[in-house]
């Protein structure tokens, strides 16, 4: 029963809200287990055409651990951490599958990426690489993308969480997409 876990998470989110900068780090191990569990559950689902949506999963985790009737700020914070973890989990999974060439199973879908044709384990890994590259050049931009892709946070929420202006978020997001697209298509040609 995640009740105890749930109250721990809620407390940490509250501390974060009140300005405790160490809270996010403490959240990570708590969330990681829960997210992995959820991800595995969905990924192992018996339906062959099952699609895993990262943001839906994060949302589900949030509901389980914190509940829907809480402070919006807490949600954004939660998702900020969760989205990074989700990215890790999914990439691990994709690597595992790519390595063993297992077919069938689960398609992983990430928010907003359909238009970019990202559909499959190798694409996810390519995205991960590209995103890591982007984060190296511009760490904040990478975070924004992560929160959007893997966590489904909206621009206002991202702006709130990171403490930057809305305009910055919009601009970073728009240009990141373009850069990632180019990066990934180049990789393809190679």
């Amino acid at each position: 029963m995640p009740d105890e876990l749930s109250s721990q998470v809620t407390k940490l989110l509250e501390r974060w809200r009140q300005g405790d900068e160490k809270a996010p780090a403490e959240l990570v191990p708590l969330l990681y287990q829960e997210l992995r569990r959820l991800a595995h559950y969905h990924l192992r689902s018996e339906r062959p055409d099952h699609t895993l949506q990262s943001t839906a999963l994060v949302h589900e985790a949030y509901l389980r651990l914190v509940g829907s009737a809480s402070v919006p700020q807490d949600r954004a914070h939660f998702i900020a951490v969760a989205s990074r973890l989700m990215r890790q989990i999914l990439v691990d999974y994709a690597r595992g599958r790519a390595a063993s060439k297992r077919d069938g199973g689960c398609r992983i879908m990430l928010d907003d990426l359909d238009a970019m044709g990202i559909d499959g384990d190798s694409d996810l890994l390519a995205l991960d690489d590209a995103l890591s590259e982007l984060s190296r050049i511009d760490e904040r931009q990478g975070k924004i993308v992560e929160m959007k892709f893997f966590g489904g946070l909206s621009a206002p929420e991202i702006s709130e969480t990171l403490g930057i202006s809305r305009a910055t978020v919009d601009r970073d997001w728009a240009t990141a997409r373009v850069w990632l697209h180019r990066q990934m298509s180049r990789k393809e040609k190679v």
Partner: protein
């Protein structure tokens, strides 16, 4: 790439992205001047952006982000009250902000002074192409003139090229809010909604589709105290949509215009290429749903779901019926009920049935199955309000066909619905006719002492013959049981007489519907006769025929058919092919083939019987007429209703002439004809026949005679088909009351009525009540007929189905699995009834996400004589929808159709 370089690059990139494509080159010239690497970098990124843009769809959030804060100098943030706009308007105040842009209340200064609503199309949503298109739409929009549609006076562009609409200012409230505020009842809401439909109809006739119908666009104002709907924004979506070549909802920039909750499935489908008026139909359906229940049919909040998932839901997920939704969604139902001036339970009751059907028809995923026009929808709503039958209710035969395939074996003369109704009818009708055939044959023949004695015996037992009884059949039963046990001891010296008595008593058991006991008595008679007369004797054959009849009643069709076939062979050999007795055997065989579902073969045999009897006995002979009736039933069973009707009409005409209009044979044909006419949907004609038949039997046999009661049942079914449910249920319950009193609570007719009532309730959506009746019925049948009797099995199958209706799949599965075990044992695997149960199990598996199981069960059912009507409808059965994408499903469907066609071709 270095971080600092990226910072400045990012900035430039972003600025360039905001420019129209043709302006970018000059921008790059300006900012890059001679920096070739910078330019190269920017160009490649912009190329990537172009690539992204042209892909199919992007998320609304992205588009919003891209566009919000777009720094177009003429943009919206700059407007303020009292400002003059486009030279002719003075802005008063901002009314709101929509997906397309701002809406302002303004005063038009010239050419006329009036208050208008100005709808501005925001920056980023238009370009040259849009503006051009916009201008051409003006004309179309201006010609609409209907009280329910807010007028679009004009459309124009500012000096800077920003498009705007000038519309009638509607100081109204969204329709859903209005109804809630006024706590409008369901009836009041429907009236209002019907007006909305009329408005949309007007627009559609002018070839203008709204595409974004939702409560926010359907405002209600009060004119002289009466609520009047006004639909706003008609045609705006199309005008703004930029792609001129296909009518999609996506602008060139990829942001999509549409409100997910109200979007039609085809709008949510990226591959669909055209949107037509039926898209508005769907949105109207959603609005209706919300008006009735207070909630959206599908949960499509974008938040927390990727867009693709939202759209997929819209395309694929079936919403719950309004009544189901309200009854299951306790959180919102109290509020919803209060807003409608009622209680949750009552609200569910109001919605269940016709309103459910109307709403669901408007919300069909397949747009071909929705209402064709808004006026059709309005018409059905008016029908509902006037308590007339609603067209949306699915024709029971196509919707429920598989359900009723069982009914005939309950020995019920009629079932609630068409094809199955026919089969059910066949049994009792054929039984009646057969019986009469035998009697008349024997009376005519005067060949055999046995015959006379049998008659005498039957006469002695007449008091316990329910067809003439007024008393409790249980008493008769006791008498009979006693007699049948004592007969084994007596008459050892006169086996001939003993056999005759056995035959007679068996016949009485038959009349009581106790076929198992009848069969054993008849079998004993057969054994005796075979021993003393040999197999080729007429009396022996007679006994064989009785046994075969009993076996068929017990559902042991193969044994019955074997016996009837060998009896026929013997008769042919011993008596010749045209001997009336041989023809009896042929008649019998045809009927049994019908029971087995081998309708094509049955038709062949029946035709031969009719032809020969016509030739040998004459076209007006009673036996000939009976055979014609039998043939008609075989035709009905194959869906050849037109032929059946013609034949029955012919038969009826002769019967009336030869036997007199009040003859029982004529009455039977009348009810049969009623069934065929109903199959062709001539319900009113059928009703007339039933009423006439009822009058005759009431007069001739008495108002409480079993046959009279049976016709009442038929009439109740007919009323049900005409959606006169209240009358139908009342007739059924009255009949049930009489039947219980007259025949005893375990009499087949009584149980038949109960079955009908359960069916009516089920078809009416009253699943709980239906379930209760079925459960009672099973108990009675178990005690009366035994747990292995086909009727008991049929009822447990029905119970399984009504549990499926309530989505109690686990319970249904248990019951059906138990049933199928017994069916396999008792009826055999090649039996339509067994196959139907397996089919239902397939449906359960499909609904429970076990596709492999479902497919294998389905295949099983198809291979083992599933009824042709069911086989032809497999691909339309909504329960099996989840299998549609599986290639194996298509194979099975093809096979089923081939089989069904093959069976029909057998003639």
């Amino acid at each position: 790439m270095k971080t600092e370089r990226w910072e400045s690059l990012k900035d430039l990139l972003h600025q360039a992205m905001l420019l129209a494509p043709e302006k970018r080159d000059s921008f790059l010239d300006k900012v890059c001047s001679s920096d070739r690497s910078l330019r190269g970098e920017l160009e490649s990124l912009l190329a990537a952006e172009e690539d992204l843009r042209s892909s199919f769809m992007q998320s609304p959030t992205l588009a919003d982000e891209l566009l919000a804060g777009a720094g177009n100098p003429v943009s919206d943030g700059k407007l303020s009250p009292a400002q003059t706009f486009a030279q002719r308007f003075r802005l008063i105040r901002r009314l709101g902000q929509g997906g397309m842009g701002q809406v302002w209340l303004a005063e038009q200064i010239s050419p006329v002074r009036r208050q208008v609503a100005l709808k501005l199309i925001k920056a980023g949503m238009y370009d040259e192409a849009v503006v051009r298109r916009f201008r051409s739409e003006r004309q179309a929009l201006a010609i609409m003139d209907h009280p329910a549609i807010a007028k679009v006076f004009d459309a124009g562009t500012t000096e800077q090229g920003q498009p705007f609409f000038v519309m009638e200012y509607v100081p109204g409230v969204p329709i859903t809010d209005y109804c809630d505020q006024k706590t409008f009842t369901i009836g009041q809401r429907l009236e209002l909604f019907a007006h909305v439909c009329e408005g949309v109809q007007h627009a559609h006739q002018k070839a203008i589709i709204h595409r974004d119908l939702k409560p926010a666009n359907i405002l209600v104002v009060e004119v002289d105290g009466k609520p009047v709907p006004r639909i706003i924004d008609f045609g705006l979506a199309k005008a703004v949509a930029a792609k001129a070549d296909d009518e999609t909802m996506f602008t060139q920039l990829g942001s999509f215009v549409g409100t997910p909750g109200f979007m039609s499935p085809e709008q949510a489908d990226p591959t669909s290429v055209d949107i037509d008026t039926r898209t508005d139909m769907y949105s109207l359906g959603v609005v209706l749903y919300v008006l009735l229940t207070g909630v959206l049919p599908l949960d499509v909040s974008i938040r927390g779901q990727p867009l693709a998932e939202t759209l997929r839901k819209l395309r694929e997920e079936e919403p719950q019926r309004p009544s189901t939704r309200v009854s299951s969604d306790c959180a919102s139902s109290t509020a919803a009920a209060t807003a409608r001036g009622t209680e949750p339970a009552q609200l569910v009751g109001l919605l269940r049935g016709d309103l459910d059907w109307i709403t669901m028809k408007a919300l069909e995923k397949d747009r071909a199955r929705r209402y064709g026009t808004p006026s059709e929808l309005a018409a059905d709503i008016h029908r509902y309000l006037n308590h007339e039958p609603v067209l949306a209710r699915p024709a029971a035969v196509s919707y429920r066909l598989r359900k009723y395939a069982r009914r005939h074996r309950v020995g019920v003369s009629v079932a609630v619905v068409l094809a199955l109704l026919l089969v059910g009818f066949t049994v009792l009708q054929a039984a009646q006719l057969r019986r009469t055939t035998r009697e008349r044959d024997r009376a005519n023949r005067e060949r055999d002492r046995a015959t006379r004695i049998t008659d005498f015996m039957t006469g002695m037992f007449n008091v316990s013959d329910p067809d003439q009884a007024r008393g409790n059949s249980i008493t008769a039963r006791e008498v009979l049981d006693k007699a049948s046990s004592s007969i084994n001891q007596s008459l050892q010296n006169d086996p001939d007489l003993r056999a005759q008595l056995l035959m007679a008593m068996g016949r009485v058991y038959d009349n009581l519907g106790l076929y198992s006991q009848a069969q054993s008595l008849h079998q004993s008679a057969l054994d005796i006769r075979q021993r003393i007369f040999g197999p080729k004797n007429f009396a022996t054959l007679g006994a064989a025929e009785e046994v075969s009849w009993d076996l068929s009643q017990l559902g042991r069709y193969q044994e019955a058919e074997n016996l009837s076939r060998s009896a026929l062979d013997v008769a042919r050999q011993a008596l010749g092919p045209d001997d009336p007795y041989t023809l009896n055997a042929m008649y019998n065989r045809g009927w049994i083939l019908g029971l087995q579902g081998r309708f094509g073969e049955a038709e062949q045999v029946d035709r031969e019987t009719v032809d020969r009897r016509r030739r040998v006995l004459g076209p007006e002979n009673r036996d000939t007429l009976n055979a014609m009736n039998n043939l008609a039933e075989a035709l009905q069973d194959q869906g050849k209703y037109a032929e059946a009707v013609a034949l029955q009409q012919q038969t009826l005409a002769i019967q009336r002439k030869v036997l007199g209009p009040d003859a029982q044979g004529a009455v039977d044909t009348m009810t049969n004809l009623g069934v065929s006419l109903s199959a062709e949907q001539h319900y009113a004609e059928a009703e007339k026949l039933y009423r006439d038949a009822l009058d005759i039997d009431r007069r001739v046999l008495g108002p409480e005679a079993p046959n009279t009661l049976r016709i009442r049942l038929d009439l109740a079914v007919n009323l049900h088909e005409q959606h006169r449910f209240a009358e139908s249920e009342m007739l059924d319950s009255q009949t049930l009351e009489i039947a219980r009193r007259v025949l005893g609570s375990t009499h087949p007719h009584v149980l038949a009525v109960m079955n009908n009532i359960a069916l009516t309730l089920e078809n009416d959506g009253k699943y709980r009540e239906s379930e209760n009746v079925y459960r009672q019925l099973i108990e009675l049948e178990r005690n009366t007929y035994g747990p292995d009797d086909p009727r008991t099995l049929a009822t447990s199958e029905s119970l399984g189905e009504v549990l499926m209706d309530q989505n109690r799949l686990t319970e249904a599965k248990k019951i059906l699995e138990d049933t199928v075990v017994v069916e396999r044992r008792v009826l055999g695997s090649d039996n339509p009834a067994t196959s139907l149960t397996i089919y239902n199990l397939a449906c359960i598996a499909a609904r429970s996400q076990r596709p492999q199981e479902a497919l294998s069960l389905l295949s099983d059912a198809v291979e083992h004589h599933l009824k042709p009507e069911s086989m032809l409808q497999i691909d339309q059965d909504t329960d099996l929808k989840s299998l549609h994408r599986n290639p194996k499903f298509a194979t099975i469907v093809a096979r089923a159709k081939a089989k069904a066609a093959g069976q029909q071709k057998l003639n």
